[in-house]
């Protein structure tokens, strides 16, 4: 049975169809990419799955349980964590305290939450940042902290919303290694929204493409990069010309180029 199954999911905001009849499923241990132009409904899909939005119609099944009608905190307690695209931390919490909030989902004891948070920070190699306030850190480190916080809740499935946005190529290398570690080393199933093609095409087992709220393609990275609908909707003719279609080794461009060439 599929680990995560989304069936005919539709979400409308007034007259706007943000997600329209999206169906896909995901196996445990998979690493899946979710791409598409801005406004395609990627984050809305994440919000629906994680319970922040109530869905208009359709069904979401996670680990054999129908979670469609559950509230966000109930979904989280079943082992489905997520990060946010824009998350500006307030001046109140330090890095380790942030991660502890996540860890407190599984324990009432501060000492245990603290120990677990320290473990995660060490695992992600950011334990030297423990006592900084999150907004004192560079963006790349903030992204790692939001990932660490989500991991603190000990999820089985982790949804990452644009963790590589706004990072330089070096930092993208770093976060790619981290995602791989979270997936392979920690054994967490990962689904990620990403505009950085280099990252998403390199590490995903499978990619889903959204456009105008609909799923227009699904397949392995190689097939996706050759798919004419995807090229038309998102990657762009120039992008494919410059970087060549098919070989995932050549995905050196960043999102800006891809999005630019849409016009």
């Amino acid at each position: 049975m599929a680990f995560l199954k989304v069936h005919n999911l539709t979400k409308t905001f007034g007259g706007l169809r943000a997600n329209s009849k999206i169906t896909f499923s995901m196996e445990q241990g998979e690493l899946m990419g979710l791409i598409g132009p801005n406004g395609a409904g990627k984050t809305t899909l994440f919000n629906c799955i994680s319970g922040l939005h109530s869905v208009t119609s359709g069904q979401i099944v996670f680990a054999g349980e129908d979670i469609t009608a559950l509230k966000a905190h109930e979904v989280a307690r079943r082992g489905l964590a997520r990060t946010f695209q824009v998350y500006v931390a307030s001046g109140d919490l330090t890095v380790i305290e942030n991660v502890m909030v996540g860890c407190f989902m599984k324990t009432h004891l501060r000492s245990r939450a603290r120990a677990r948070a320290t473990e995660i920070l060490e695992d992600l190699n950011i334990d030297d940042l423990s006592d900084y306030l999150v907004n004192e850190l560079p963006v790349a480190a903030q992204k790692l902290v939001t990932m660490a916080t989500a991991i603190g809740s000990d999820p089985r499935l982790l949804l990452l919303d644009e963790v590589a946005a706004g990072l330089n190529p070096n930092e993208i290398e770093g976060i790619m290694a981290t995602i791989k570690h979270v997936h392979d080393g920690m054994g967490i199933t990962v689904m990620l929204i990403e505009h950085v093609m280099e990252l998403v095409m390199k590490i995903s087992h499978r990619v889903i493409v959204l456009d105008y709220g609909e799923k227009i393609a699904e397949g392995d990275p190689e097939a996706i990069s050759k798919d004419p609908r995807v090229i038309k909707a998102y990657l762009g003719e120039r992008y494919v010309r410059e970087h060549g279609a098919g070989s995932s080794e050549q995905w050196a461009g960043t999102s800006e180029q891809g999005v630019e060439s849409e016009q």
């Binding site: 905190h73 009432h108 004891l109 501060r110």
Partner: protein, 335 residues
């Protein structure tokens, strides 16, 4: 056991802070042995009471970021429970205080459950409204003395009466509230490190993030509101025995609600010492301004002008109050 350990553990504060806090604590304990005016003593008691109100407010308002401007209703519930039970049935303070806390907590669930569906300013306004409605109800409710209020007449008792908390000298009241004050600090020290404390700070940060970390945001707020309420109600009960004369107009007025919130914000919302610092600045200032400028020079309302000035200064310069400034300076030095 870990809760107790956390409550007693202040080791995450810099040594200087602990030294100052310890020195101030000892100064409070020995204060009555030094010559002082009764006015100074009354101000001290007011300061301790308002510190406790502020600590209560700080749980939901400071750590949770939910600006609550209706705390006076719980002062009223606490005070009235104690006064009514003492006058009508001669129930001692130590029994009526917990009962008052229960009433307050029940009331806080009744209004907190729907109120926390509201956010930001709407929540603040709704808390004012419930507080005023309750005050109006008490003003027409004959059982509790209506607008005339209630008077605990000390002649009926034999002070010092430790069971009913009826004393002739203020110094007894001072020590009782000082014990409450120290226990309050320990409780707050536990609270800020507890799971609920962490959850609230996350909620203040971003509610969606909090939800996605498995936090039941609405329930966490309602629970914390009940804790804040219990604090305020406890001091309200004390207030009844101390002042001995309570009426809706001064125990449940909007002034008190605003003063409670203002103090915590001035000192530093969301920090352990904030409400105490805030009360330490505002209460003496208020008392002396009233005494000197208000009564003698006939400038009634000068304290209100002062409050509004403080609100403007805080919101313009440092939303995290005096303690926010201290922390800012420290961080700058460290980095």
């Amino acid at each position: 056991m870990e809760a107790l350990k956390n409550a007693l553990d202040f080791s995450d504060f810099p040594r200087l802070d602990l030294f100052i806090a310890g020195a101030v604590g000892i100064a409070f304990i020995v204060f009555p042995f030094f010559p002082h005016s009764s006015f100074a003593m009354a101000t001290m008691i007011q300061f301790l009471m308002f510190s406790l109100y502020g600590m209560g407010w700080n749980t939901i308002g400071g750590y949770g970021g939910q600006v609550d401007l209706g705390k006076a209703q719980y002062v009223g519930i606490g005070a009235y429970t104690t006064a009514v039970m003492l006058i009508r049935w001669d129930v001692p303070f130590w029994v009526s205080m917990p009962i008052g806390m229960c009433f307050s907590v029940i009331w806080s669930f009744i209004i907190g459950y729907p109120l926390f569906r509201l956010k930001g300013h709407y929540f603040a306004i709704a808390t004012i409204a419930t507080s005023l409605v309750l005050k109006d109800l008490f003003e027409v409710w004959d059982f509790v003395g209506a607008a005339r209020g209630l008077e605990i007449s000390p002649i009926k008792y034999h002070p010092p009466d430790f069971l009913r908390l009826i004393f002739k000298e203020d110094v007894y009241y001072f020590y009782v509230i000082l014990v409450f004050f120290f226990v309050g600090i320990l409780y707050m020290n536990w609270f800020r490190k507890s799971r609920l404390g962490f959850q609230l700070r996350s909620i203040k940060d971003n509610e969606d993030v909090a939800r996605s970390l498995g936090i039941n945001v609405h329930w966490a707020k309602v629970k914390t509101y009940a804790i804040a309420t219990a604090f305020v109600s406890m001091v309200g009960s004390f207030h009844a025995c101390y002042i001995k004369c309570i009426e809706p107009e001064d125990t449940m007025s909007l002034d008190i609600s605003i003063l409670i919130a203002l103090m915590a914000m001035l000192g530093g919302a969301g920090s352990l010492w904030g409400p105490i610092i805030g009360a330490g600045i505002l209460i003496p200032l208020k008392s002396y301004l009233k005494e000197w400028l208000g009564a003698q020079a006939g400038m009634v309302g000068i304290d209100l002008i002062l409050y509004s000035l403080i609100i403007m200064v805080i919101s313009a310069f440092e939303p995290r109050g005096v303690w926010g400034i201290v922390e800012k300076i420290r961080r700058r030095k460290r980095n």
